[in-house]
Amino acid sequence: MTPESTVGTTTTAARWERMAALFEGALAVPAAERDAYLREHCPDPKVAAEVRLLLASPAEAAGPIERLMAALGSPAERAWRAPAPYLRFVPQPR
């Protein structure tokens, strides 16, 4: 089953919230430890499998978001480095 078939409807909103939390939790640990993280935090193997699928899906380099960002003058490449002039003082990460 692909994630497409289970996402986006109100009935699966709670499931998605859970997957989102697991996805972000897994992202916060080193890549090598993500499997162990999911085993520990997600008892449902089906949900864990879907989260693994999400973690393994590289976001397209030139998908609609990137095209839109480029079109709107918000290029993704720049955005990771130089802060926009209106926010020159970047505080230290908390």
Binding site: G8, A20, L27, G73, S74, P93
Partner: protein
Amino acid sequence: MTAHPDSASVPGQSHGDGEVTALLRRAHVNRRESLDALVPIVYDTLRRIARQQLAGERRGHTLTATALAHEAYMRLIGLTRIEWRDRAHFFAAAAGAMRRVLIDYASARNAHKRGGGANPVELDLDGIVADDHLEDLLAVHQALALLETVHASAARVVECRVFAGMTIEEAAVALDLSPATVKRHWELARVWLGMHLKAER
């Protein structure tokens, strides 16, 4: 002076001691309520600026979404010194307002292109988003609306990044989150949006 001191009609005039800065200060106490109140003000300002620029300039000159947001900042706050955090909050509201301005335009433009007696768009933003990108814009907006229902913070991150050109660090300040959290939200949102946008094709 008009009844709405923040509806800047004089270019370059600062309204820093007006409603906008008051809302930004109040955002320290009640973030959502204050910024929600700010969005329509910025929305009106963005439209006004776009209209003036389009009236005064040749077609083909570059009018970008981020430049428009900066211009709105200058109109509504100008050179008044405000806290950097307030500044970031302003641009978070500007991102939401910009999204609305562009979606209004894209919807009207699409309706007009399809015919059916619809009037030409009232505010022509072709310089900001050409017809080639209307579909991307509407698709991202719809997928984002869906994301909002399951992960509102991630949707805000996308809004700030896409519609106000913020970096991860800037979005972190604007949304009162840590940069690490913003980055994870962003990664999640990209995967989510990628999936939903692909599913639509």
